[in-house]
Symmetry: C2
Subunit: 125 residues, 2 copies
């Protein structure tokens, strides 16, 4: 029912997220000039470009939060070049001490076999 | 944190989905030439254009399936013109008698205050 190539990329990325090997997924699955877009501007703009900038976001997150529990649901497939996943994370902001459950949908667009764009949707409901 | 206009449209659409008043949502919230894109081609192509064609898809669904339980989670917000929702539906195909749980993400794009595009992602995991 679903395109095999997009299923492979989607399942590989989700596997990395579940195993805590996101850095490996970033190196192997992303286009060098991939774009990452947040749901809202948290103070540094919504969009960054390039694998190094995305790696910087991961480092920031890993330093800023203590993760108590995390899970990934997916993949959700759309056609031959898009997929998504739901991320549920229970984490504490180390600086503020505030612990909050977060839930977001990550939308991934593939071009020429590599992830070219990731866009995050935050649950507001 | 989130843009008020997109939150209003998102919450109004989700309210219609929860209340079973989708037809009303379609009339009041969608652009006349809105496009609807399915995750895969089920035999009639993936894309239809126009509110009448989308209404036709709703009618087909309502005739083909008996819904036992349905829920909507959302909205998930991205910027000022996109939102999404997770639909979980337990339904029986009246013709085949097959009962299956379905889960999909609906991605909505707003232009000039109206929903101009809806794209569905089916859970494959």
């Amino acid at each position: 029912m679903f395109d095999e190539k997009i299923m492979n990329i989607a399942n590989t990325l989700i596997g990395h997220c579940r195993n805590g090997t996101e850095a490996e997924g970033l190196s192997s699955l992303y286009a060098g000039d991939a774009v990452s877009v947040e749901a809202v501007d948290m103070g540094n703009g919504r969009e960054v470009k390039g694998v190094d900038a995305i790696r910087g976001k991961h480092d920031w997150w890993n330093n800023a939060f203590e993760v108590h529990e995390a899970s990934v649901e997916g993949p959700f497939i759309h056609g031959e070049n898009q997929f998504g996943a739901i991320f549920a994370i229970d984490a504490t902001n180390k600086e503020s001490g505030e612990r909050s459950p977060m839930r977001e949908f990550g939308l991934y667009t593939v071009e020429n076999g590599k992830i070219a764009r990731e866009e995050f949707f935050y649950l507001a409901g």
